[in-house]
């Protein structure tokens, strides 16, 4: 891995919860992201996986400065964003762009594709206004769409094409980091493959850092160099994609991997399955100790006592489980 372009150190995003009318009183704190440290390098794809509510989208929003971090540092190209001036923040926002899950909801239905792509360029003055049309046409070609489609509106496109437009919009400001939040989960398999190919190609060609959030582990394994698994606001396992998904070490990752249905009917019926009971606990009242222990098939008394730290194993991956040596 090359030098990290983005580095997170112990980032926390907490939301206070208030209850009651009139004079609302504090009812607790949702620890959506609770001490996440990770890095992403140029030309690297970091996969981020976990169940709904584990904080992966909040982490994305925190990185992009949509919500303020409660604690911790986010360093982009050597600059700490928590201490950045508003001018520096504007520049940081240009350098980090997002692709959302639902291409039907994330494009303005009243703007033509040209207006959608030109607007960020004009706002951030990335080039002279006269050069914008040529830049926009170039962007369209980059994402595999014909420039003659620029006068059309989002409803005239299919789901896959809209997601290409959303990718083009993210690229309009020549960013260095792209955060894609479930970019293919609303798409059919055949279209999903096209978007995955496009994203890998762009990462290679433009030396982008891509944070790829998804709940589909086979997709994440395919596209990512490294994978981080989140549970209830914390990273529980982080390592090379093939290691984490083919030989998971944390019991939660093992359960996630075991939940993926296999394509081979005989293997699918024969294999042992770890079916986790219930839903993830509420982040408002996280369990004591390891947050996973109430659902963990190998939990012991000691798992209730202390929050396990992320510890590095011999193969370089990090796992937050005190029993990792025994299981």
């Amino acid at each position: 891995m090359s030098d990290p372009i983005l580095a997170l150190q112990n980032v926390k995003t907490h939301f206070p919860v208030r209850r009651g009318f009139g004079r609302p009183r504090a009812a607790g704190i949702v620890r959506a992201v609770d001490g996440v440290s990770l890095t992403v390098g140029r030309g690297e794809v970091l996969g981020l996986v976990g169940e709904s509510g584990c904080g992966k989208s909040t982490l994305a929003r925190t990185i992009l400065q949509f919500v303020p971090a409660t604690a911790g540092t986010i360093v982009l190209e050597g600059r700490n964003l928590a201490a950045a001036s508003s001018g520096e923040l504007t520049e940081a926002r240009r350098l980090m762009q997002m692709v959302f899950q639902d291409p039907y909801a994330s494009l303005n239905p009243r703007l033509t594709v040209f207006a959608t792509l030109a607007e960020p360029m004009l706002v951030h003055r990335v080039c002279a206004p006269a050069a914008v049309p040529a830049q926009v046409a170039e962007l369209m070609r980059r994402v595999g769409l014909a420039p003659r489609l620029l006068k059309k509106y989002p409803h005239e496109f299919s789901g896959g094409q809209r997601q290409r437009i959303a990718v083009a919009r993210a690229l309009a400001l020549r960013p260095k980091v792209i955060v894609a939040d479930e970019p293919v989960s609303a798409l059919d398999v055949s279209v999903q493959a096209q978007i995955l190919n496009l994203l890998s190609q762009l990462v290679r060609e433009m030396d982008l850092a891509l944070i790829f959030i998804a709940h589909d582990l086979s997709v994440v394994k395919h596209i990512s160099d490294r994978v981080a698994v989140m549970y209830l606001g914390k990273i529980v396992e982080l390592g090379r994609a093939a290691d984490v998904i083919e030989r998971p070490r944390h019991p939660y990752t093992q359960a996630l991997v075991s939940a993926i249905p296999r394509l081979d009917p005989d293997a699918e019926r024969a294999r042992p399955r770890i079916v986790l009971a219930g839903d993830p606990p509420s982040p408002l009242h996280p369990p004591a100790g390891c947050a996973f222990h109430p659902r963990c098939p190998v939990a012991q008394e000691k798992c209730r006592l202390a929050v396990p730290p992320l510890a590095q194993l011999a193969d370089g991956r990090e796992v937050a489980c005190i029993r990792v040596g025994e299981i």
Binding site: D188, V189, S200, S218, H222, I223, R262
Partner: protein, 324 residues
Amino acid sequence: MPLLEVNGLRTFFHTRDGIHRAVDGVSFTVERGGTLGIVGESGSGKSVTCYSLMGLVPQPPGRIESGSAVFDGVDLLHCPPRTARSIYGKRIAMIFQDPMTSLNPYLRIGDQLIEPLLIHEKTSKAAARERGRAMLEAVGIPDAEARMKRYPHEFSGGMRQRVMIAMALITRPELLIADEPTTALDVTVQAQILELIRRFQRELGMAVIFITHDLAVVSGLCDRVLVMCAGRVVEAADVRVIFQQPRHPYTRALQRAIPATQPQGAELYTIPGMPPDLSQPLPGCPFAPRCEYAVDRCRREDPTLGEVAPDQSSACLRAQAGEI
């Protein structure tokens, strides 16, 4: 005799832009206790097929143009509405993709859960509530008694899908139609829901039609698989055969596009082009414009589903000729 026999089903939508041939001549059978998977991309007609069986196609603009669907001797498409109503929700139940929009947000879970019992069985409300509570426990909802008084928004997605399943199974149906029941859920919850469906299928001996776009889900659950494309069935076979020896180029293309079948980091196979516009007449095979095996004949002749191996049918002219 099969439990359900669908023959030549055609459901068209008559819109301002023309006639949209959503389901165009679909035939299949479901045996008692069997599991049929229907797979295909969005717009391939898999949901409309099942909506047609359940009388859920909005008419107009939809219209069932022809075909029959014989369930245990009764043609659901042509029987008196009263007869059909005594079957829907009692002997055939359905669960949907989005458990948030398919539960009534104004009704307590308990009240909607026992509605099928109050309608279809002569039972007292107290007895129905007791069966409802037992059913909630059976689908794995803890503290069922208290949960009966809660509203849908107080449940998580996985819990709501469990409630939906409890509601569908409370009348002990002979056929369950599940329309992408796990698509909106996490993999861990998906595994729980699939396990639940498998268990009830064993216990009640019911048949299941499972609609999904995810081939991997089908592999663990179904005995038989129909692959649909552009409103037609393009391949029908035993689940193992579909995965090991698919004989329609579309089935092969779908499998090759799945990341899990490809080496990590390699470029994924993509199906070129887009699904056809169903409001335009299609000469020849609907997949021909996107098919790498297509020859001139494929663009002229309309293929029909024909047997290419024992118990395996493919609607591909070249497969039928033994060329692929």
